[in-house]
């Protein structure tokens, strides 16, 4: 089904009327810095390191769980509460 943009006739600036377009549910991934990480963790967020186990074992943030990116599936995330905030990280801006 095609959705056309309609313009409200009584508006001089011709703002498009998008009311006939179905709205999508917007899911945001929020990027956070270290200060926000501290706040979120203090409020109960779970930290997940997604690097391979060997890198996790070398060094990781306190209190994190390690689930390698390739192993992120329903089974391996079953231990996490879907309604609780989750923070993922790797080494740096990769």
């Amino acid at each position: 089904m095609a959705h056309r943009l309609h313009y409200r006739e009584n508006q001089e600036d011709r703002v498009p009327d998008c009311s006939n377009i179905p709205k999508k549910v917007s899911i945001m991934i929020i990027e956070v810095d270290r200060n926000k990480v501290k706040v979120l963790v203090s409020q109960g967020a779970r930290l997940v390191e997604v690097l391979p186990k060997a890198e996790y074992e070398e060094e990781h943030l306190p209190g994190v769980i390690n689930i390698f990116l390739r192993h992120l599936d329903r089974k391996n995330t079953a231990q996490l509460d879907r309604e609780q905030p989750v923070i993922v990280y790797c080494h740096d801006y990769q």
Binding site: I27, I29, I30, E31, V32, D33, R34, K36, V37, L40, A45, L47, V48, E49, V50, L51, Y56, E57, E58, E59, H60, L61, P62, L69, L72, D73, R74, T77, L80, R82, E83, Q84, P85, V86, I87, V88, Y89, C90, H91, D92, Y93, Q94
Partner: protein, 167 residues
Amino acid sequence: MSARAAWRLVTLAFAQVFRYTAGKADWSAYGLPTEGKSVTSDRAGNLARRDVPTCGLSDRADSIRQQLRKNGAKLCAVLNEQRVLLGQISAEQVESESDTSAEQIMTSGPITLRPNAKFQRLCEFFKAHRDEAVWVTTNDGELLGLLHRDDVERAEPKVDQPACCLH
């Protein structure tokens, strides 16, 4: 990698997904606590002395000299209000000055190390430089402390690596 992981969690029905974009490199570069096999007490952040003389840009040479003498120190860090390291002043630089401001006599942009620099890196640094000490700052330039050559020489390496011979 963390971006893909975050989106994967969305597909797995997680309601609130956050991405710590800068990751653990950022975390440890700020001297924040970490755990693991390679985390030892011989890193720059652990060996650096925290009680170092500091001053602002407008502080006068005579007060800086007094502070250095009181602390038995040879270097003073010049900081802004955010504790960002702008420069350094040595005892020699303030010896013959009195009313001059720190800004006029400081050496700008001194070399710095991050607190997560490992022991071997510290040895390499002091082998390559003649400095008796180097500032330790966060990635944002905030001062954490001053690492002395003597303290690195005296430190026992905590991981399987040779002791640091700087001579």
